[in-house]
Amino acid sequence: MKKKEIVILAIVVVVLAAVLLLMNVIGGNGQRKLVITIDGQEYQTITLTEETNMHFTVETPDGVNEVVITNGVVDVVSADCHNQVCVDTRPASKVFDKIVCLPHKLILEIVGDNGEVDYQ
């Protein structure tokens, strides 16, 4: 690798790390809710607190995903999709965290409740 490349790469890494840190800071405080989207359509929204404990199954047209919420931390524990990426994805708890099941066109994402992370 050339010197110039290392410098550019270092800058890119620092910028990305700063963005991630910023996302972490923004996502760290305030109300959180879990938004479940299937094929671009909002399916369900659940407000999350430290005391949210749930166990339910999301039924999509392409298959099912079993979701467990423990103390406000969301995790997909099982799914009948072929790649199991959603099951392998680490649990989501902070704003911007998300669990995606592409085969089922399903997104589980944590969103801030004050409207600062609003899409669509």
Binding site: M1, A17, H82, V85, T89, P103, I107, Y119
Partner: protein, 172 residues
């Protein structure tokens, strides 16, 4: 190497086999717990073929490899998903090599390719789930790509030395 020579066919078959082995090997390594993050070991083959033979040869290997992998290990939907990342990555690496040639190292080319692979996959995933919210995955995915791109790039660098020897021997 002539495209209709036995040498060429053998070489391409070897490269496809190598790519398949690397794809399989990658499924054995525990996944990085981020949707879409992979080490991208098969990109090593794309990079090697791209820098020794050319764009079309690398494209042929990419398409055959992703088709076989999706038939063996995954499904048709993931074919679109991996092809979108693979082709974007290949095109950008080709342009980088074409226009910067000696001014860019193979490691940097690999890092750019790995990054583009992630970007392509996220774009395709956005189309599949019809949501822009996946864009927030990009910073972490690109950061991971830089690391994996360097791993693949350094592997390519060391392999190329021997590769060039092999290709030059008895050119017919």
């Amino acid at each position: 190497m002539k495209r209709n020579s036995t040498r060429y066919l053998t070489f391409m078959a070897m490269m496809i086999t190598l790519a398949l082995i690397l794809s399989y090997f990658e499924t054995l390594i525990p996944a990085i717990p981020i949707p879409g993050a992979k080490i991208g070991l098969p990109n090593l083959v794309t990079l090697l073929v791209l820098s020794t033979l050319g764009f079309w040869d690398a494209l042929v290997i990419l398409i055959i490899r992703t088709t076989i992998v999706s038939m063996l290990f995954t499904s048709v939907l993931s074919l679109a998903y991996s092809l979108s990342g693979g082709i974007l990555s290949l095109v950008i690496m080709f342009l980088v090599i074409r226009f910067l040639k000696d001014r860019i190292s193979i490691v940097a080319t690999s890092v750019i390719g790995a990054t583009m692979h992630s970007v392509g996959q996220v774009l395709c995933a956005m189309l599949i789930v019809e949501s822009f919210s996946l864009a927030t995955l990009l910073p972490i995915l690109i950061l991971i790509s830089i690391v994996t791109g360097m791993i693949v790039g350094f592997s390519a660098k060391f392999t190329l030395k021997h590769f060039n020897l092999m290709l030059r021997k008895g050119t017919t």
